[in-house]
Structure formats: C-alpha cells, structure tokens
C-alpha cells in the first residue's frame, strides 16, 4: 500500500468515516506490515495531540474523571467513603467560600448602551438571573456587583452568571475592575480561567481566535483549561495570548482596545475630516483609540469644502488614506455610510470608497464599498463586493460633481428581511441590479478575512489593495461612518442629519 493511501485510511479511521471494506484493507495492511503499523501509531499520536489541544472541553480537566465517577456512583446510590471525603471537602470549600468571599449582595446588575441588541433573562430591576445566558448581538453592556466588580462587555458576546463571583464569558471582549471586596472574582471562558487578585484587566475570547488577556493594574492568575494547562500570574502592564496547546505567550498590552464605560451612543467610527488633525477618527469605539491614519503619500490630507466643514479630496494616488485598523471581520454585521462627490472627468470602472479585508485570489474575502461602472449602460452605480466573489450593485446612476449620501448595510448571517445587503442612495433604498451583480446562490454565510497575510486594513478612497493600486476613487469624501451593526432604513436616513443631497435642495 502506498503512503498516500495509508494516510487516507489512517485519517479516515480517526474520523470514523471508513467503510467496512476499507477497515478490512487497513487491518490487513497493519497486520502484515510493521512499517505501516509504525506510521499508523505515529499518526494517531499526533491525532491525539490535536484532539487534546484543540478540542476544548474534551480533555478531562484535573479531577474531572473523579467528578464523573462521583456522579455515576451517586446515581447508583453507592456512595462510599471516597465520595463522603470529597463531599466533606466540597462542603468545606463552599462554606469557606461563603464565609470569606460572599458579600451580602453579589447579584450582577446590567445596563446597556443605547441601541444595543440583547437577549436573555434579565429582571426589571436589571438583575441577571443565575445560570441564564445573556447574549449581546451587538452593542455594549455594563455589569455591576455593587462595591465589588464593574465590567464592560462589548458584543457580540454571551455570558452566564454561574454563581457569586463567577462569570462565564463564552464569547466577547470585556474590561473588568475588581475592588478589594471582590477579590477572587473569576471569569471562565471556554479555554481559560482568570482569577482576579485585586485588579483591572481586559479579556477577549472569540470562537475562532485564541484568548488574550491584558492586565492594567494589580494582578491576576490565568490558567489555560486544555492541553498543557499552563498557569501564569500577570501584573500591571503585562499581556498574554494563549497558544494552541494551552501555553501562554507574552505580547504587548493594549489598553485602547477595551471600553471602560458605557458609551452614550452605539459604538462606531467617524471620520469628519474637520479640526486640527483632519484624519483623526472619532466615535465610541475601542479601535478609535490608537488608530494610526495617514495618507498613502505620507503627506497632509488634501481637503476641500465638504457637506459639513471640510471633506477629503482625492485627486492623486498619494491622497488616499490608509489606517492600521483591520476592519470588521467574519460575517459580523456592519454599516458603512458617507457623503461622496465623484469627479466627472476621472471615472475608473471600479472606484473603492471604503475597503478592507483580503483581496487575494485564494480568499477574495474582502469588504469593498465602491462605485462600479456598468459595462452595459456605462452608468456608475453603488456596488458592494464582499467575501469571495459576491457583488451587490445598485440601479440608480451616481451623479458626478454633486454631493450624495451613500450607505451600505451588511447583515452577515442575520437575514431579517430575506436580504443580506442593502444599499442606500440619499437615504432611499436601492433596487439591486441582478445583471450587474453576482448575488449569492444560496444562504451561505459570506465573510471578510481580516487576519491573513494579505489582508489590508481600513482604507478610504481605494480598494483593499496595498499601495492603493487599482480601484481608486476620484472626487471628495466626507463624514465617513463605520458601525459594527446593521442599521435600519430609518437610522440610515438619520445619518444624513438635516442635510439633503444636492439633488433634493
């Protein structure tokens, strides 16, 4: 049997996908060929390592086998001395926990920023019910155990209050401030346990990423919950990220990535191109702090009179703007809106207005809001390219030389009205033009890749390409807004404010 076939059968065995005939073929090979048995053994060893490292929850945590045993014995009503000893220990631990850690009121109260979308069991008094998950689709929640813990959680997130001083954070980005009386507060994610030792810290846990923790004040103890289960103690200004096998790797702390209070408005990024530093982003969004923004040429932004104050003027390649923010990844919903005044003389077939993501051939998982020229009618219309090869095009021609408000609402997986994408021109929803679009053929999720080697950060005035080659926009852009949620038609109109498009004045 050749090595490739042996590899195929070995992997199939690990996956439980082999037919009876294939199992017999593999068995015969293994019985007669010691080299194949050696290969099989080494392969299965790596399979087990991968299972142990990556299948969170599968490897038994310390003592978990004992708990399983205990449960079994309880069911069989065969409680013996070992269980009694363990029960005594457990009861003692609970008593000590209550005596030393529990304060009279350990209920968590929750408040949300305006516009937050959440679900879960929360009382009228704002108290979270024990054991009931609370999910944030988008927006921000502030959790409060009076006098002990204050936390600000940014969605998408899911959390469950497991008991006094124990919060399970299944997904989300959270900042925690724990006072002296709350010391010992624990946060449990699917892959780590963080025990506060009197401190301020931030924790990010996402389904497709490895957890990271930042300590800004005091100390915490963090333990990986799988594979090598490394435990570390962190002090102020230290940060760790988890490795795929449960070890901790040091990295630079980044305080700017966490919200520390409820924002008065829903988080978002806003480029007004006004003020002393016209490229400085504003808005209630962690990425705003520390975001580096520059023109491709490295010189000052070229400005012109805008819809409100100044606007970004794009005439040369060097005028386009590049940031260091990777953008909104995956299938997360988002809204992009701005005012544009396209140049009538210079109109390339595709002109990127706001873009990010991976434009490479293998992924083509980009997010590119642009103007596209229809080959059939030569008219320039709104166009949104997302994911691998999907494009949504509008129908109404864009007018050169006039200010127009444009918006894109991407719903990701949440397909409320049967539409994944909505395009708006001057506050009115655009009819999609199927001839000039490549619409999804089914309900597959379409995503943006923001962490590949070829992924480009947020850029304004060009497509998601390095050096702004290709897909440049010629004209003026003002009041760029990027929001991590899908706005309603009314909200999109609200972004226009009291200003109307030139054509309506």
């Amino acid at each position: 049997m050749n090595r490739r076939e042996l590899e195929r059968l070995t992997q199939g065995m690990a996956d439980c996908t082999l037919s009876a005939e294939e199992i017999s073929t593999l068995e015969e090979e293994l019985l007669t060929n010691p080299d194949s048995r050696d290969f099989y053994r080494r392969s299965m060893r790596v399979e087990q390592l991968l299972e142990e490292s990556l299948h969170l929850g599968s490897p038994p945590a310390s003592g978990e086998w004992m708990n399983a045993y205990m449960r079994r014995r309880q069911r069989k009503a065969m409680l013996r001395s070992a269980l009694a000893a363990a029960a005594v220990l457990l009861v003692s631990a609970l008593v000590l926990h209550h005596i030393f850690l529990r304060e009279p009121d350990t209920t968590i109260r929750v408040a949300f920023s305006p516009g937050t979308s959440w679900s879960g069991s929360i009382g009228k008094d704002g108290k979270i019910a024990h054991g009931e998950p609370v999910r944030l689709e988008f927006g921000v929640a502030e959790l409060n155990i009076p006098g002990q813990v204050r936390a600000v959680i940014e969605g998408p997130a899911e959390m469950v209050l497991r008991g006094p001083g124990l919060l399970e954070l299944r997904e989300g980005s959270g900042w925690f401030r724990v006072d002296e009386s709350g010391r010992g507060f624990r946060v449990l994610t699917p892959s780590v346990e963080v025990v506060d030792l009197g401190t301020e810290f931030g924790l990010v846990t996402r389904p497709d990423e490895l957890d990271v923790i930042h300590v800004f004040d005091g100390r915490v103890r963090c333990s990986a919950r799988f594979a090598m289960k490394e435990e570390r103690e962190l002090r102020a200004d230290e940060s760790l990220r988890l490795s795929p096998v449960g070890r901790w790797i040091e990295q630079d702390p980044n305080e700017a990535m966490f919200l520390k209070s409820l924002p008065p408005k829903l988080p978002g990024i806003w480029f007004s191109f006004d003020g002393e530093d016209p490229l400085k982003p504003e808005g209630e969004y962690p990425a705003v702090r520390g975001m580096e923004v520059r023109t491709h040429g490295g010189g000052p932004a070229q400005l012109t009179e805008g819809v409100e104050g100044k606007a970004l003027s794009l005439r040369e390649r060097s005028d386009t703007v590049r940031t260091n923010w990777p953008g909104i990844g995956g299938a997360a919903s988002r809204t992009i809106a701005c005012w544009i005044r396209p140049d009538g003389r210079n109109s390339p077939p595709f002109a990127g207005i706001v873009s990010w993501g991976d434009p490479s051939g293998s992924q083509l998982a980009r997010c590119n809001f642009m103007i596209g020229k229809s080959r059939k009618s030569e008219a320039r219309v709104l166009r949104f390219a997302v994911g691998r090869s999907t494009q949504f095009s509008g129908s109404t021609p864009i007018v050169a030389g006039e200010w127009q408000h444009i918006a894109l609402v991407f719903r990701g997986t949440r397909n409320i009205d049967g539409d994944m994408v909505e395009l708006y021109l001057n506050g009115e929803r655009e009819q999609l033009n199927p001839e000039f679009s490549q619409l999804p053929k089914d309900d597959r999720v379409i995503s943006t890749v923001i962490d590949s080697l070829k992924s480009q950060p947020l850029q304004i005035g060009c497509g998601p390409f390095p050096q702004s080659y290709g897909g440049r926009f010629f004209g003026d852009i003002d009041e760029v807004r990027i929001l991590p949620r899908a706005l309603s038609a009314r909200e999109v109109k609200g972004l226009m404010g009291n200003r109307k498009a030139a054509s309506d004045r």
Binding site: E7, Q11, M13, A14, C16, A20, I23, E27, L30, L31, R37, D38, R41, R42, S43, M44, R45, V46, E47, Q48, L49, L50, E51, E52, S53, L54, H55, L56, S58, P59, P60, S62, G63, E64, W65, M66, A68, Y69, R72, A82, D208, A227, M228, S243, P244, V245, G246, R247, G330, Q363, A365, G387, R388, S389, P440, V445, S447, V449, D451, S452
Partner: protein, 182 residues
C-alpha cells in the same frame, strides 16, 4: 496492624493524583486503540471507574502507570469484542493487541510533543489554523466553515487532509531536531 485513617486518606489522595496525572496519556492510548469507534470518551471513563474499583489491587511503590495501562488495555479489548459481537466493523482484537504492544508510553515525551505541535500550529496561516481548529473543535464544524467561506466541503476536506499530513511531519521533525540537540 491496620492502617490509620490518615494513612488511608493519604493513599486515596495519592491514587486520585496518579489517575489525574495520567489522564492525557490514558486518553491518547485508548484513542489509539479504539480509533474509528467513536467511543473513546466513554471507554476512558469506564477505565477510570475500573481503576478506582480495583485500587486495592494496586501495590503502592510499584509502577502505577504500567498497572493502569494494563487495566486500560484489557478494558478496551473487552469493549472491542462486545462491539464485534454486535456486528460493528472495527479492528480485530488480534490487531489491537499487537498495536497495544507497540505503543510507547513516555510521560516526558508528552510535553515535548505538545511544544512541537505548538510550534507547528503557530506557523500555519490563520485560515489553515482556523480549519484545523474547526475540525478538532466541533462536530460538523468543517461543513459550517465551508459554508461561511463559501467553499465546498469537499475542497475543505482535501485541504484538511494535506494539513493534517503536514502537521504530522512537522511535529515529528521538531521532535527529531530537539532529540539531536538533547
């Protein structure tokens, strides 16, 4: 002389600690012998139960690990025989016995293997790491990932096949290189 309660408690604690310590290796051993059955987790728990019930038969001071693996081996063979009687298509007890003979259990090697795996996983492009994590992280995850990226599950599986083979080569190479310098 009868052992005192303190001695009994200490022996029990030692036993619990020993069983806990060998869990990853025990699971790897059972996973190796029972690959393709989908019953690895259940049998691992069964073996833990067996070890606990037979704890009086373990002679303190002798090799606990070897004793536990011998118990595990017979427990696995018992399960496989039952499954074959039920008409399940799995390896014969003869082959499993031979595979068990050739298993090399080395407690010290385990940490080195994990470090080697970490090295290899850290060098994967993020989309490949996503795919590998999806395969081992959740049931049906590859199909969901394929949907999310707009690719066919078939092409994902081909990529995964290559990735797993490459990871295996990488881990072995790392361990060999470390051995050269040890």
């Amino acid at each position: 002389m009868k052992p005192q309660p303190d001695e009994i408690n200490e022996a029990m604690r030692d036993f619990v600690r020993d069983v806990t310590e060998i869990q990853p290796a025990l699971r790897a051993f059972i996973g190796y012998l029972m690959s393709g059955t989908g019953e690895v987790a259940d049998v691992t728990q069964e073996v833990n139960l067996l070890l606990w019930e037979k704890r009086d038969q373990f002679e303190p001071g002798t090799n606990f690990r070897a004793w536990a693996f011998t118990c595990a081996r017979y427990c696995v063979l018992g399960h496989l025989r039952r499954m074959r009687r039920e008409g399940r298509h799995i390896f014969s007890p003869e082959l499993v016995d031979q595979l068990a003979d050739e298993w090399q259990d080395d407690a010290k090697a385990h940490e080195k293997e994990l470090v080697a795996l970490e090295y290899c996983l850290e060098r994967l492009p993020s989309e490949d790491l996503d795919l590998v994590r999806t395969r081992y992280g959740s049931h049906g995850g590859v199909q969901r990932l394929a949907n999310r990226l707009g690719q066919s599950a078939g092409s994902m599986r081909i990529r995964l096949f290559r990735l797993r083979a490459a990871l295996k080569r990488c881990v072995e190479q790392q361990i060999d290189e470390e051995g050269d310098f040890a």
